[in-house]
Amino acid sequence: MQPTSRLFALLALGTALVSAPALAEMSGTLNLNGATGLIDMPSGDAQKDATFSFSTALIGPVSRATLSFQFSERLSGSFRFQTWRDWDTLIPGDSEESDRSIDLRYQVLKEGKIAPALTIGLQDLTGQGLFASEYVAATKTFGDKVKVTAGLGWGRLGSDGGIGSPFGSRPPVDPTGVPNADQWFRGEAAPFAGVEYKVNDNWTLKAEYSSDAYVLEDAERGLIERDSPFNFGVEYQRNPYMRFGAYSLYGSEFALAFHIILDPKSRATGGIVGKAPVPVKARPARAADPEAYDSGWVSQPDAGPILRQNLAKRLAKDGIAVENLAYTADTVQVRIRNGRIDAGSQAIGRTARALSHVMPASVEVFEIVPVVNGIGASKVTIRRSDLEALEYTADNATLLRERVTVTDAGPAPAWSLGDEDLYPKFRWSLRPVVRLSEPMEGDIGLRLSANYDMAPGWVLSGSIYKELVSNREASASTSTLPHVRTDGSRYNEFGDPALEKLTLAWFARPADSLYSRVSVGYLERMHAGVSGELLWKPVDSQLALGAEVNYTKQRDTDGGLGFGEYDYDIVTGHVSAYYDFGNGYLGQLDVGRYLAGDVGATMSVDRVFANGWRVGAFATVTDVSAEDFGEGGFDKGIRLTIPFNWALGTDTRRGFDLNFRPNGGDGGARLNVDDRLYQSIREYHTDGLDPDWGRVWR
């Protein structure tokens, strides 16, 4: 089994074991290419919004591994890694060929009473053209069991049974790696069709007429014999997360498919499990017990340490540390560090509940300041009487949010009481790690990490990585640019174990709405130096602006401290704009100078879910020409975070991160410095707190 599929299988298994909700109505099913469709052909359907799938398919000597994401209700994309074995059957050379491809699909029409679902798709839109096709496909459902699809394809999907070239002839791909727009919908067009019959919730039968002649696999390389255009298959949906398929292809081949289908919007356990919060402690009515409201306690010298200690004890159960506490007779400000709860709102709710138990009755205003890397991210002000009154009220989340204010954190009050035990603090861990560079390629190893919190905002941290098993292919860089990234396999080979990083970082809030970071040291595996960042982000603003400047030298490949191997140093930097479009869509634009000295811009779009899932894509265009960049043409990729709490239903802030950059080169490469400011700060701003604000009462 492939390492990624194993990993995803584990995640899926973890969730499947919990009694899952009933099977949701299936929108469309996946084909051998991991795209919505029939068997080898696409269809007009789309997946349910936000569906994330991982598909593996075996077609004789061809295997396809595909990650797909339904980015919005209509737009979906795929990233595919395809391997052809026995590549040297007819032509001597490598015995194996591999290719990466990217697809985009857009559903122009949703299925109506009469209208079919209509999708336009671009398959392998930037590659060297081994899998390039374009299509228009229409799918209509009859009753609740039968679906009929008909479509017209170009490229590979127009290679058998063509009806002529409506939009002119198809030019060859040049250069590779950039969108091949001049090829799209050019050349011979050919019709394809198919039918799906849903026997019951688990079983589906499929048959199709394919317009793909398999010229590459049959005529050119002799891998697959295409005797017939007809394909037949049966699919089995085991549960909402797993689907299997077995097919007869082209009259000669047998094919298998396995899909893992994940819905970021549905945590399998429903809500977060984990212990109920402590009830809010009610104060006695002021008229009944005026003495309880006496503010004399403020002047007692030992009140502060006792209160802080009591609060810390209560919050420790939720993994929350009390950075410091400041109070007057009617207001308390507590600075908290949330180490475990994945939702900021829940950490705030738990803190407020604890304060209701600890603080004397005269304290009416709770100011809660979540602290990230030693700096206050925002200040959430809750009136204690609102907390008391709304605890058991219907729609208490909405009502409380209307009464709560989220403002700039401001500086910590001068009279606040810190905790001597929090600083300095040494933390370390030794953990197994999976590092993937392709959907099926990477390594597994052990990472020894250590952190030394010297003072609020000052962190010394380092990590060492030792590889255990790897299936990476060593490849020598042929890049004509400085080898700022493409010597990756040398770094893996010669530096094992390697010092990944050793840095001193300083975080601060120079002014309202301004956040800063300075990192010095061995910043990442390949580069070391100084990195400085400044971020402007008002708490309730959808827009944030940032700037970063780095001066770095390239490190030796042996994983040590030296700089003798490369004589390369450079100043890089970017100005960035971040915008929250709402509904979980985040955009980012970075303009500046990259590691190889190239100048350009990076566009990225991420979709983030309240429960922590994050799927995004990015593309960088710089003044490096597509030829100099190499096979990929320009730097682009997808990134993905799957929070563990989604699979397990327990409180945890950790997650599984993937970052794929197909055919990444030296152009458009940025420094991989830790703890960039935007994401960590945003979590406690209104746009980060509001989507899952309801968890304040959890």
Partner: protein, 230 residues
Amino acid sequence: MKHLKLALAGLAAFSVLAGCGNDKTPNPMAAAVGAVAKTGMAKLKGQSAEAAPAAQPASPKDLRAELAKAGQPILLVSSTALGQTGFLTVSDAKGGVLTWATPDGATFSQRDGVLIQTRGLGFDLMSAQVPSVGQLRQVGTPYQRVYFFLGPDDQGTRRTYDCVTASVGTESIEVLGRTHATTRLTETCTRSSGGGKVTNEFWIDGAMIRQSRQWVSAGLGYIDFARVID
């Protein structure tokens, strides 16, 4: 072959090496593997992964006597969806709301016996607009019920129902060896949009709800409550 090797090594690393250090953030990957293994084992043994039911004393009366020794109110809760039954004690009482807690940290809050919140169950009822006992007794008079949940993506959702109660008549029920004369009411709630129907049952004993079967959420369905000790 090389993929297989990588996968096996990875699995071994995750299951054997849960990770160590003084950084107390749990390692969920190891936990996942552990959970998978545990459930697998339980299935092999032909039993559910849930804890086996506690040994039962000889008779309901003995059990009642045992429970009464604690000297505090006790609620019997049973859920088909969770496959669990338990005796709960009060963890919070204020403003007519009693919150009942299980030893493992789940809670049920009721206003005069009508369920308004749950916590720690996964598919929790976050809050609710519910009828009073007086309202329930006004047979035939329509009113609204509103349930508030967090969706699986943690966004807030609500379900609004139009409800009416009907009297089934007087019933004599037995709760843990003690007989109570009650009036049985059926509350029927229909959703104005989105479909769905909720039918709650209440057995009213004087001024209090002695026993009930109330809907909690789509994931948990109905839960049975009975006041064992007042």
